[in-house]
Every structure is written in C-alpha cells, then in structure tokens.
Amino acid sequence: MNATFTLLEMRRITRDWSGMFFTAVLPAFFYLIFGATVDAKGETIGNGNVAMYVMISMAAYGAVTATTSIGGQAALERQQGWGRQLGLTPLPDSSYIAMKSLIAMTVAAVPILLTYALGAATGARGTASAWLLSGLLCLVGSAVFAVYGLLIGTAFRSEAAVGAASGTMVIFAFLGNLFIPLSGVLLTIAKFTPLYGYAALARYPLTEGYLTDGSQDPLWVPVLNVVVWLTIFSLGAVHFVRRGRERQ
C-alpha cells in the first residue's frame, strides 16, 4: 500500500464532478422520492420500516454505480498505456489491485453514508444490527460490480462502454427489484438478474427474506444469485484480459 499514490488517485476521482453527482447524489435523491415521501414509509417490514427498505435499495444502487465505473476506468487506463507506464516501476500488480479496491470501496461508501444519513433524518427506522449489517453488505457486495466494470472495460475498450455499463445499472436496478416492488412473473424474472441477489442480501438483516408481496426468499436464493453472477463476471473478465494480452 502506498498512501501518496492512493490519495492522488482519490483526488483525481473526486475531480470528476458529474461522475460524483451520479454516484453520490442521485441515489440519495431517489431515496427522497421513492422512500421518504411515500405514505407507507412508516409501515413495518421485518426489523424496521418501509423507508429503511427503500433506503437500503438506493444505497445499494449508488454503491454499484460507483464500483462499476471505477472498475471500468481501471481497465481502460491500463489498456491506454498507463499499465505499461506502471510496468516500468517497482509497483507490483497486487499493490495496484489492492489500492484500486480500497478506492472503489471508499467511493462506494459515499452514496451509502449519504443515503443512510438522509434515511436516519427522514424516518427510516430499524434495529441497530439491521442498520450496521445492511450497510456493510451494501459496501462489500458492491465489489462484485467492480468486476463487472472491469469486464466491460476490457471487452469494449472505450469510455462510452464504461459509461454505458454504469448507466445499465438503472435497468438492472429496475429488474432487480430495487426501485419499485415487483410481483408475479416480473418478480420471478427479477431473481435471475444481477442486482437482485446483492440487493436482497443487503436488505436481509432488515427483511429476513420477506418480500413486499408477502412471499419469502430463503437465504440461498440471493446467495446463489451473487455467486453465479460473480462467477460469470470473473470468467468473462479473465477471458478478455487474456485476449487483450494475445493482441499486443
């Protein structure tokens, strides 16, 4: 670990104001619209209330937008010659990955903290353990989407593709039962989409698996979803990293 390197990278990322707006402010704004202002926000769900349910969903959405973008940018930087420049220094790849992971987690923490702070101020209620565990699960689980960003960045090699990858998070969030409560066929389909497992896990300390339509997911459903998608993203990323090397 290298403090100067990490801090300079952090400063560089926070310089991108529009990017920071979409990762940090947009989810908090969504929470205010979908969570804090709805009539049912005070109704009880598991170990808390509806406002908290929406708050966790939005924090999760913000966190994955951040990690997808950082993973994608890292892939692009390395392909655009920065990887060669770093290859001329003593910096080992493992340190580079460790620093990038730390940065991704730090940036992902921003929307989580902001949304949780707004939630606490506007009526989200739950047990202490539900607050703490859901926040941690949001943060840790978002790493899966850093791999997704890396995959898109190495596969398509363009800024536009990485921007689009962050953008597709909106679609995955709808499909993954994050923005509006799904039911029936849509809910069944949702369980196969990449954000469903992660968000359901993050909400698990609150809901214990209960969904808004009254049904309950056993714990293995979201866990299996996360494991399968992490495997798909990782295999894809490894495939494209290898293909990129062959091409040199």
Partner: protein, 343 residues
C-alpha cells in the same frame, strides 16, 4: 558524446544490456487466417555501460518488441535478456533501468506535478520531484493538467518520469514520434543536457538523422534481426548517399550523364521526366558541375531516407525480405501491403 563509465559501473563489469538469441513470436488473433508472427527473430546484442546506441529500423522491424523484453514488459518466447547481469524485472524494481515509451501512458486528469509524484511514490528512493520537473523543462507547466499539455510536453513529462530513479540505463522508444520539428529539437536538447552523467542510453527511431545526431553506435534492425551494427560514423558513411536532381536541357543529357559518372562518389545517374537524378556521396561537387558547366537549373538535394540506407547497407530493398524472414517483419509499401501499425 561518448563518456567513460563511472568507477562503480566499471567495477561491476556487467554489460548494460545482453541479449542472447532473443526470439518473440505472437500467436495470430482468434479467427484470423494469419500464421504465427515472428516479431523478433534471434537477436544477439551486447551494449556496454556508458554507450549511447540507436536502434534504427522501419516500423514493424521488431524494435519495440525487443525493448519491451529489455524492460521486462514482455517475456521472450526463447532466448534471454539480461540488464546489468540481472533479469529485466529485477533491474526495473532496483531502479537501474527506466524508459520513455512511445505512446499513451499518462492519466489525462492528473497535473504534471501529480503525475511525477504518483510515479515517484512507487520507488523506495528517487530524485527530488521538483528537481526532476526542472531537468525535464517542465517547471512552468507543473500545475497544468496532462490533457492540456501538447504532445511534446507530454513526452517531456514521460522523460521526467524516466529520470525519477536516476537510472543507469535509459531506454527511449521512438521518443519524438508525432512531434513537430521544434518539439523534436527541444526534446533532444533536453536529452543532450542530461546525458552527461555517464548513463547508458538506448533509443529506437526510424529517423536516420536522429540516430546520426545523438548516437555513438547504430544497430540497424529489420525483420526482427540485426542487419548492421557499428559506430555511427561508419554506418553513416555507408548510408549517406544524397540525391541531387535538376532540370537539364534535352540536348545536354548525354554529355551530362557521361560527365557526372566521371565524378568520384557518383553511384547512379538516371532520367526522371525532364530532370536528371544523381545519387552521390559528395553532393556539393555534383551540384557545382550541374549548375555550372552543364547548365542545369531548379536544383534540389535530398538526403537518403531509411529505405535507401537499407539498400546501401544490406544490398536489398526493405520491401523484399529474404525467404526465411517473417511474413510481416518489414513493411512492404511498394508491394501494396499496408504498413504495419507501430506497436
């Protein structure tokens, strides 16, 4: 330009670079019909400490691939590369070798100074950041974003990064590619100013003039092999043919041709439309007689390009690789094969 190695360097005695039967092949892209590409086809080369050596060759000759192996960025398919007697990656980690790469390699949204600080932080010991910025002539620009720097300024920044570990071997891969004449001139001035420390410098270029102006020794590379290697003066004298052309009246052509062939150093005289083109080592003497007693006008003198140098040095056109050469080792513009993009 030649400097004596410092006592410590001499006592360690190892050559700066030692390449033994170095080969690098690339597998073709999946789905393409290409065969295996041999980028480097058995290079043997020893470069002593304190030498300033030009790696001269056309695009696709294998220069960048060879230097990548010297820098540990690419693993050889077979053969060995040693830098100061060590494996390349070890030499990089120890700060003994650094490089200015051809393209890319910078983060656009950092400032010049932040970039230098960031790379400096990866070394255990470096020259002071501000001193390096000064030596690369970047003091005025240190707070400018990389994205706002010109190509030449970005190249000076890469040079600053390469100076950070105070390396004993500095590798420059086509350092002036894409620069205009002024920027190119400024870059080499900065290099000259810095070359005092007895550093070993190896640079790749496809400009004969650059090799001529800066190197003690020229290694000519084509088709992944060394085709000529010697002191700059020797290589230049073998490749320094100039072409003089002038408009000569029709009735004077026969007499002019005979007279010109009589001059020492004239190797070729031929007709190109209304102009007469003479290839010679002493272009002054040709020009004098052309404009004087032969009544020529509209005279032009051009220095031999690298292609002509190749023909002079190897006795064959770069467009006609020998049968055992790799299929795309040399760009063959004349035969309609598109020039390979520089890696």
């Amino acid at each position: 330009m030649h400097t004596t190695p410092s006592p410590t360097a001499a006592s360690s005695g190892e050559p700066a670079i030692e390449l033994r039967d170095l080969v690098k092949t690339f597998r073709p892209l999946r789905g393409s019909t290409d065969t295996v590409v041999t980028a480097v086809d058995g290079i043997d080369l020893t470069i002593g400490q304190g030498e300033v050596v030009a790696f001269l060759g056309p695009n696709g000759a294998g220069k960048t691939t060879t230097l990548d192996m010297v820098l540990g960025l690419t693993e050889p398919t077979s053969g060995t590369a040693r830098v100061f007697g060590r494996p390349p990656r070890t030499a990089v980690v120890g700060g003994h070798v650094s490089a200015v790469l051809q393209t890319g390699g910078l983060l656009r949204d950092l400032t010049v100074r932040e970039t230098v600080r960031m790379i400096a932080s990866t070394y255990a010991v470096t020259a002071p950041v501000d001193e390096v910025i000064d030596r690369a002539g970047l003091a005025e620009l240190s707070n400018r974003r990389v994205s706002k720097c010109s190509g030449g300024e970005q190249q000076r920044l890469r040079f600053a990064l390469a100076l950070l570990p105070d390396p004993r071997l500095l590798v420059l891969d086509e350092p002036t590619a894409g620069m205009d004449v002024t920027a190119r001139h400024e870059f080499w001035q900065t290099m000259h100013a810095d070359a005092s420390a007895g550093r070993t410098v190896v640079f790749a270029t496809h400009y004969l003039e650059e090799a001529d102006a800066f190197a003690d020794r020229i290694v000519l590379v084509a088709g992944g092999r060394v085709v000529a290697d010697g002191p700059t003066a020797e290589i230049r004298s073998r490749a320094s043919g100039r072409t003089v052309t002038a408009v000569v009246a029709d009735d004077a052509v026969a007499r002019a041709t005979a007279a010109l062939f009589g001059l020492p150093g004239v190797t070729d005289v031929r007709r190109r439309g209304e102009r007469l083109a003479i290839t010679a080592s002493d272009s002054d003497a040709v020009a004098r007689i052309l404009l004087g007693e032969l009544g020529g006008r509209d005279l032009e003198i051009t220095t031999a390009g690298l292609e002509e140098a190749f023909m002079a040095l190897t006795g064959r056109s770069p467009a006609q690789p020998s049968p055992e050469s790799p299929p795309d080792g040399i760009p063959a513009r004349r035969h309609g094969v598109p020039e390979e993009v520089a890696r």
